[in-house]
Structures are given as structure tokens and as C-alpha cells.
């Protein structure tokens, strides 16, 4: 019984960075900017959070620096994609590499531990809330442990889903943003600046990836190690496609992928009930599901129409 509670709590924990990155991608791609660089932004943010928190001894300063670092990368991507009309996929690949390299190079220079950052004290981390009074209760206790005993950043992630769904469907900004991802010419004709809207989307994506990175290094873990996001950004991208670029389904997809990750972590080296599914097959499942979905064998995934296309004003 305890194992199942742990597994579900771990599902929530693992899905938090996925949700944050996935919602980040959602904002960006709904405005027509393809974001392969979620992984890189998360990684540099994880590094910035762990280093700043180690130096200043405050998780909040860590979070702030994580957002700044991720934002800087997001703006590079925005400049390349919006101003220079460069290839957005190429720019994303560049950002991923730059982040992976810079984090280790700078970390090695600053802390001399081969790219690791020092282990953080409790005040340097976002620790889960504890509810000792409720923990022991018969029916409520397990639910509290599964759903409530998480850090503040997890609450932020889950709050973002309804907020995003609402903003994209009900606000003027959200509707314009979606329009810019579907038909930028129409938006431009209506006198709304395309570039400014797209920049806002890129900035939102940057901030959210920053929070995701801070969660990975200062909440899930207590230091930065190389490549610690381990493809989470790409899994978020897969979840985004899986969810057909919608906020609520994105939550579902991230929870599913988080669950698979949690099982993968639990099943490592242990056989369950006599038979054993190799952990590698559980690990690859999110990607296989995404490929199958993309191929239209189960449902159909349709990206925003103008995604990846630079906007060129008619002369």
C-alpha cells in the first residue's frame, strides 16, 4: 500500500517539470514559434538555480536567477526566430547545445567539482510542505501525501494549467496570440503587431522553463549535475504534441508521462510480481506513444498552422 502512495506521489513530482515545460512550449508554439529548446532552457535554469542558491543560500534567489538565465536563452531564440527569420529548429538545437556546454564549463570554473554544484542546505531548496496533523488520518492521510506534500513550485505548475486554458480561450491577449500562430497575416492586417505578440509568447516560455529548471535542481534534487534534465524538455514536447497543443490534455499527458517515469524509477533492478518488464521499455514508452499518435494511428495531432514559419510582412 505504501508503495502505491509513494508511486503516485512520485508521479506528481516527476510530472511537475514536464507540466511547466509543456505549458511553456504551449505558449510559444501557439504563437507560431517552434520550441525545440525547452530542454536547453530548463537545463541552464537548473544550473543557474543551483549555483545562485549555493552562493546566496536562498532558493528564491536561485529561482530568480533561473528565470533570468532561461529568459536570456529564450530571447536569443526569439531574436533568431522573429527578427532574423532564422530556422527555429536550428536555433532550438543551438540553444540545447549551448546550455549543455555552458552549464558544465561555468560550473567547473566556479565550483571546481567537474561541473557539479555544491549540495544545497535546506534553506537553499524548495522543500515540500508538510502536514503532520493530517498525515496520520486514515483516508485523508494518503491523499495528503500524494497531492499536497509538494513544494510551492509544484502548486505553481498545477495552477498554470487552468490559467493557461482560460487565458488562451477567454482573454483578448490569448485569442490574439493564438491567431498569430494560425494566421499572422490576418493579425497584421487587423493592426496588431505580430512580432510583439510573438516576443511575449517567447518570454512566457522562457519564464516557465526557468521555473521548471529551478524545480529540477532545487526541489527534486539538491544540486546540479550535468545533463540533469535528461531529456525532460523533449518529453514535454512529446506531451505537447500528444495533447494536441491544448492545456488540459497537456496536463493529462504530463501526468501519464510522469507516471511512466515514476514506474521506471521504481522498477529499476526490481522484479514486480514475478515477471519483469525491462525498465528501458517503460522509459521509451512516452516517445513511442508520441510517434504513434503523430502518425495518426490513434487520433490526429494538428499543430498550429503557422508554427515554425517566420512572418514576412507583405510589401
Amino acid at each position: 500500500m505504501n508503495l502505491y502512495i509513494e508511486l503516485l506521489a512520485s508521479t506528481i513530482r516527476m510530472s511537475v517539470p514536464l507540466i511547466l515545460a509543456c505549458i511553456a512550449g504551449l505558449w510559444s508554439e501557439r504563437a507560431g514559434i517552434v520550441d525545440i529548446g525547452l530542454e536547453g532552457k530548463m537545463l541552464i535554469a537548473a544550473f543557474a538555480a543551483a549555483s545562485a542558491s549555493a552562493v546566496f543560500g536562498s532558493a528564491w534567489i536561485g529561482l530568480f536567477c533561473a528565470i533570468l538565465a532561461s529568459l536570456a536563452f529564450a530571447l536569443v531564440h526569439g531574436y533568431a526566430a522573429i527578427n532574423q527569420r532564422g530556422n527555429q529548429v536550428v536555433s532550438g538545437v543551438a540553444i540545447n547545445m549551448l546550455a549543455a556546454g555552458l552549464a558544465v564549463v561555468l560550473g567547473n570554473e566556479w565550483f571546481r567539482e567537474g561541473g557539479r554544484t555544491p549540495a544545497l542546505p535546506p534553506e537553499g531548496r524548495f522543500l515540500p510542505f508538510q502536514f503532520p496533523a493530517l498525515d496520520g488520518l486514515p483516508a485523508v492521510g494518503p491523499l495528503v501525501r500524494i497531492f499536497l506534500e509538494h513544494s510551492i513550485l509544484a502548486y505553481v505548475a498545477f495552477a498554470l494549467v487552468p490559467l493557461t486554458a482560460w487565458a488562451l480561450a477567454r482573454t483578448r491577449f490569448g485569442l490574439r496570440l493564438r491567431a498569430v500562430g494560425e494566421n499572422p497575416h490576418a493579425v497584421d492586417t487587423a493592426g496588431i503587431p505580430v512580432a510583439a505578440l510573438r516576443y511575449r509568447a517567447v518570454i512566457i516560455a522562457g519564464v516557465l522553463c526557468g521555473v521548471a529548471g529551478a524545480y529540477v535542481s532545487t526541489s527534486l534534487s539538491s544540486s546540479f549535475v550535468r545533463d540533469m534534465t535528461a531529456g525532460g524538455g523533449f518529453m514535454a514536447l512529446a506531451a505537447l504534441i500528444f495533447a494536441n497543443w491544448r492545456a488540459w490534455p497537456a496536463l493529462g499527458a504530463c501526468l501519464l508521462f510522469g507516471f511512466l517515469q515514476a514506474i521506471g524509477n521504481f522498477a529499476q533492478g526490481a522484479s514486480v510480481g514475478g515477471f519483469q518488464i525491462p525498465v528501458q521499455f517503460i522509459n521509451m514508452l512516452p516517445y513511442v506513444l508520441t510517434v504513434v499518435l503523430l502518425a495518426g494511428f490513434i487520433g490526429k495531432s494538428v499543430p498550429p498552422r503557422a508554427s515554425g514559419l517566420p512572418y514576412v510582412k507583405d510589401r
Partner: protein
């Protein structure tokens, strides 16, 4: 007419790439400066470490061999208008092909076994690119996303295969047993066995000639055959290609298959030529270097060979540098790689307007 003002051919092909490369290197230099080292000194150590000795040259060319294969793979797909980010996974799967034949058919004499193993490498790489190609052509799945997913699927799948199939019983290290039959001698072994000469130790082997042949073959394919013409036509203008009677689905699948086969050749250099066993994560990012190499080499085999040598220099020089200056981590090379991709790919035309204004200050006829 081009959109942003015509510039002479040599500016587009020669000057702009050089400026972009220079900017990428200057920014890399700034990073070195930020971590408190002297960038010129660092550059010199890298050049000295790779070009200053026979051993350095050997290592440089050995790295370059890998990058020529992965770079050509990206380039062939580029010419068809496809972005194959899956070189990493394709090369990884190719290792399975090489090891399966190398270990499974090791009773065959090597003149038969080695070509078979090389073929198996190419076939497995091709297969891993063929599926995304088919999915793109027939089902409309975006090739970029599918190939990214296939990198991760390959990482898990090959990890499983090594763990459960290739690893000898009772062995701790996650790797296959030694491939003894399909064994490519290193340049050093060739020199010692056949010529009785001792040369500096390096992993350089016959595959470097294979890279030259592959580069020539890609050039011939793209610029001298009907299929190559169709690939380039589709990449340059899909609508016109369809109008000319070219079937996009067929070309997409063929181009991806060729691309995967080229990436697969990396297994020949790395598995058959150097490691002689299938190792966990043996590709080590070379598939992604291929993207930088292809962008830098302007997707032309000659450019790719030069770019691959530059990255070979950076990789070999980079490891020498990290010995000489512990403050500079080996991952500095990854930073340079990222900057090269950024400035030569995504910000390709960033300096074009300024250059145009500089070359033709009065907005003369070249700007019309």
C-alpha cells in the same frame, strides 16, 4: 532575384560563412575570457594539441571521420528539405548492426565478414531513418519530431539490447564481448604489421578513406545523378518539383534512407575500427556535431570535410586543453558547437544587411 538585395556569389558562399564562423569563435573566446583564461593561449594549445604532432593529427582525423559521416547524413536530408536530427539514434542503431554481424557471423573469413558488417551498419542506420521517412511521406508526421523521438527510443532500445543480449553472462561492464573477426586495423597496427614501422598511437584507421569515398559518392549522387537532381529539386521548391513530375513521398523516403545509412557508417569507424565492442552510448553526441558540420560546410561534401576537420581539431585540441588548463572543461567544445550552429544556422543572415550596405554604400544596382 533574391529578396534582400543580391550579393555576389562569393560573398554568400565564402564571406558570410567566414564572418559567421568568426563571430561564433569570438563569442567562444569571450566565454573563455569570462572563466578567466586567455582565449588566444587556449586557441594555441588546441591547435598545438591537434596539429603539433603525428598523434594529434591521427586523433583529429579520427574524430573528423565520424563527423564527415554524420555531417553528410544531415546534408543529404537538408538537400531534400528535411531536417534529420536523428543521426545520433541512427548511428547508435548502426552499432547494433555492426555488432550483430561481427559477433554472430564471426566464423566467416574476414574478407566476407567485414563488408557484411559494414553493410549491416549502414542497413541499421538506414532502417532507423527509413521509419521517420515513411511516417513523414505517408502519414505527415513532422520529421524533426519523429527523429528526436527516435533518438530516445534508440537510446532505450540499444541500452536494453546491450544489457540483455550482448553483455556476456557475469560481466559487469555494460558492453558486448570483443568483436574479433570484423576488425579494422588501426593505422598504427597496419604500419607495424605490414611495414615494420612504429608510428604514434592513435585510433585512426581505414575508415578515414571510407569517409573520403562517402563524400565523393554524396557529391556524385547529388550533382551528377537523376535521383540527386530530384532530391535537390524537392528541397529547393517542393511545389515546382511536384509540377515537374517528382514524387515527394518517394524522394523523402529515399533521402532519409540514404541519410541514415551515412550516419550508420559512423559505427564502422567507432565500433569496428576503434572500440571493437558495442558500448553503451558510444555515439557520444557525434550525431549532433553532424548538424553543426553540415551547416558550416554549406551541405557540400568539400565544405563538410573541411568543417569535420575543424571540429576534429576542436575535439582533439579540446581534450589537450582540458589537461593543460583544468579551468577549461572539455565541454567548452560543446559551447563552440552550439555557437557555430546558432550563428551559421539560425542567425545565418544576421550580418547580410550590414555587409550589403558596406559593399554597396549607395544602394547601387546590386541592391535593386
Amino acid at each position: 532575384m533574391r529578396m534582400r538585395g543580391e550579393l555576389p556569389h562569393w560573398v554568400d558562399v565564402g564571406l558570410i560563412p567566414l564572418i559567421n564562423l568568426a563571430v561564433a569563435l569570438i563569442v567562444s573566446g569571450l566565454v573563455v575570457l569570462i572563466i578567466g583564461e586567455n582565449p588566444f593561449e587556449a586557441m594555441w594549445i588546441m591547435i598545438e594539441g591537434s596539429l603539433g604532432s603525428l598523434k594529434g593529427w591521427g586523433y583529429m582525423l579520427y574524430y573528423a571521420t565520424n563527423f564527415v559521416f554524420t555531417g553528410l547524413a544531415v546534408a543529404v536530408a537538408f538537400h531534400a528539405g528535411l531536417f534529420n536530427i536523428g543521426g545520433e539514434g541512427q548511428a547508435y542503431m548502426a552499432g547494433v548492426g555492426a555488432a550483430t554481424v561481427g559477433l554472430g557471423l564471426e566464423w566467416l573469413p574476414w574478407p566476407i565478414l567485414l563488408p557484411l558488417a559494414i553493410f549491416a551498419s549502414m542497413a541499421m542506420g538506414a532502417f532507423w531513418a527509413w521509419i521517420p521517412g515513411v511516417l513523414q511521406a505517408r502519414r505527415g508526421s513532422h520529421i524533426v519530431i519523429t527523429t528526436i523521438m527516435f533518438n530516445f527510443i534508440a537510446a532505450s532500445l540499444v541500452g536494453y539490447l546491450i544489457n540483455y543480449w550482448f553483455r556476456p553472462v557475469g560481466k559487469m561492464a555494460v558492453e558486448s564481448r570483443e568483436i574479433t573477426g570484423a576488425y579494422i586495423l588501426s593505422a598504427r597496427e597496419v604500419a607495424r604489421e605490414f611495414f615494420g614501422v612504429r608510428i604514434a598511437s592513435s585510433p585512426l584507421n581505414f575508415s578515414v578513406f571510407l569517409a573520403l569515398i562517402a563524400a565523393w559518392a554524396v557529391w556524385y549522387l547529388l550533382w551528377r545523378t537523376r535521383l540527386g537532381y530530384e532530391i535537390r529539386a524537392l528541397g529547393a521548391n517542393p511545389a515546382a518539383a511536384v509540377y515537374a513530375g517528382i514524387r515527394p513521398d518517394r524522394i523523402i523516403i529515399i533521402a532519409m534512407t540514404i541519410s541514415g545509412a551515412l550516419a550508420g557508417l559512423m559505427a564502422v569507424n567507432e565500433i569496428l575500427g576503434v572500440q571493437h565492442r558495442l558500448l553503451l552510448g558510444y555515439v557520444g553526441g557525434a550525431g549532433f556535431v553532424g548538424i553543426a558540420v553540415a551547416l558550416m560546410g554549406r551541405s557540400h561534401p568539400v565544405g563538410i570535410m573541411l568543417a569535420a576537420m575543424l571540429f576534429g581539431l576542436l575535439y582533439q585540441g579540446g581534450s589537450e586543453l582540458s589537461f593543460a588548463r583544468p579551468g577549461i572543461n572539455r565541454d567548452m567544445v560543446v559551447v563552440i558547437q552550439g555557437l557555430v550552429i546558432l550563428f551559421m544556422g539560425a542567425l545565418e543572415y544576421a550580418f547580410r544587411p550590414a555587409l550589403s550596405a558596406l559593399l554597396y554604400p549607395l544602394g547601387g544596382e546590386a541592391n535593386r
